[in-house]
């Protein structure tokens, strides 16, 4: 009985999962760099600031999810075709919202993040000014 359990355990440990994801080779430029190092650097910089849609805490440069590979290929092909990185970012944001970009942007919902520190600094300066700046 124990032996049977051991066998079962061994089988479970060594068998490959029945349903992997897809079995297609990755998209043409998912794991291949562009031959022009300047263009590749441009693409890398952009890919590092685009969010993977599947593993949502990784950039597409970091992720091995198939859709991230497809996105890298899309980005590299567009960069190779001479498209501006920020145009590509806009194109993706039109479809997925701010969500897809890691680059901080000031918008209707994010402006307090930028405004609050400024207000706090001004407040602190005002307090320090009142206490120290004008000794009576």
């Amino acid at each position: 009985m124990k032996f049977a359990g051991f066998l079962l355990f061994g089988a479970a440990m060594t068998s490959s999962p029945l349903m992997a994801q897809d079995q297609l080779p990755p998209a043409p430029y998912a794991y291949r760099q562009l031959s022009d190092p300047k263009l590749e650097a441009k693409a890398e910089a952009l890919m590092g600031t685009l969010r993977c849609l599947q593993c949502q805490s990784q950039s597409i440069a970091d992720s091995d999810a198939p859709i991230a590979g497809d996105m890298r290929s899309e980005v590299r092909l567009r960069i190779a075709a001479g498209e501006d990185p920020e145009v590509i970012r806009r194109w993706l944001m039109e479809r997925y919202g701010d969500y897809v970009s890691y680059k901080p942007e000031i918008s209707r919902t994010t402006w307090p993040l930028f405004a609050v520190p400024l207000v706090l600094i001004l407040l602190a300066v005002a307090i320090v000014w009142r206490r120290v700046g004008r000794p009576s």
């Binding site: 994801q21 849609l53 996105m71």
Partner: protein, 176 residues
């Protein structure tokens, strides 16, 4: 210095605790919703997924007939789970076209033989291109497209039994 001012920091702190206590237990929405709802279907062309099945291009959506566009793949387990619901939709008169993501035709043939074939047409998308065009981030997803080729609704994840009447209603809204 009036006495009430002493309470301001405590009130601010209490306000912060209150805000955190209210927001932290809110359910988290991990779905990435498409921004393409209400917009026209972007141009695309796909090769046929199967030799005996017409393919899907953006041109077919402008013929006045609303459709469901189902993003699926044979390797996707929830896609097999939603197959009966797609059959139900098909029987209720919905026209369903499929975009098959990163798939091989022999796997697709086996998948359709096992789970049924509700599709009027299937296009093969090996690089997730149509997903990017539609703002779709996973498999399966189902879009409602009206007769003018405008995207009117996105359903993320597999279609459950209780989603069927909802999707039929969305199709009716789109002019079916």
């Amino acid at each position: 210095m009036t006495r009430w001012r002493l309470w301001i920091p405590l009130l601010l702190f209490a306000g912060f605790i209150g805000l955190a206590a209210y927001l932290l237990p809110q359910p988290k929405d991990d779905f990435v919703h498409s921004r393409m709802i209400g917009k026209a279907m972007p141009f695309f062309q796909l090769p046929q997924a199967l030799p005996d099945k017409p393919t899907v291009t953006s041109a077919i959506f402008a013929d006045g007939k609303p459709r469901l566009l189902n993003i699926f793949a044979s390797w996707c387990v929830p896609c097999a789970a939603e197959a009966p619901q797609l059959q139900q939709l098909r029987q209720a008169g919905a026209t369903i076209v499929g975009v098959d993501i990163r798939d091989r035709s022999e796997d697709l043939t086996r998948f359709l033989a096992q789970n049924g074939d509700p599709y009027q047409a299937i296009g093969a998308d090996d690089v997730s291109r149509v997903q990017f065009l539609l703002g779709s981030s996973g498999v399966p997803e189902t879009f409602v497209i009206d007769g003018h080729g405008v995207i009117t609704y996105q359903h993320i994840g597999d279609i459950r039994a209780d989603d069927v009447p909802m999707l039929l209603a969305k199709l009716r809204e789109a002019g079916a």
